[in-house]
Symmetry: C2
Subunit: 87 residues, 2 copies
């Protein structure tokens, strides 16, 4: 799992995305919102004009990350447009 | 200017919004994205499922907040749906 970092206390996955422009970032945010509604999983998302920081926490009450969190991270990466993929 | 707090070092406006559900938050994020593109002003936005933290910084190179920032804060509040207005 590429650019994702796994942290503990609390268990979470973190990643930063960079985009060529706001429009591309906005498009990605929309896709991830669809995914969040579909999976019922809502990461903490921090963005500005061309960056997006994402933190995926373990399920409420869980102390460990599960398949749900790891799969969501991979699904997010799969939604990335070519223009935002690291070289 | 209602719930906005003005901070210094660096000069910025901060506010937290709470929403009844993710769908309402998402709708608001869309409206603010339109406003950002229209005004060319992109606050730092942090959200999860039903909260949104916003930080509006001074223009690049400026040390003070200007009308642009204050107007953007008011425009954001004006985009709030009734369901997300504090009682």
């Amino acid at each position: 799992m590429s650019a994702w970092k796994e942290r503990s206390r609390p268990a979470r996955l973190e990643r930063r995305y960079e985009f060529p422009d706001y429009e591309t970032l906005r498009e990605f945010l929309d896709r991830v919102a669809e995914l969040s509604e579909q999976e019922g999983l809502h990461p903490d998302m921090g963005f500005g004009r061309t960056y997006l920081n994402v933190t995926i926490h373990a399920d409420d009450g869980a102390t460990e990350l599960g398949d749900r969190q790891r799969r969501f991270a991979e699904q997010m990466d799969a939604l990335l447009p070519a223009s935002a993929r690291p070289m």
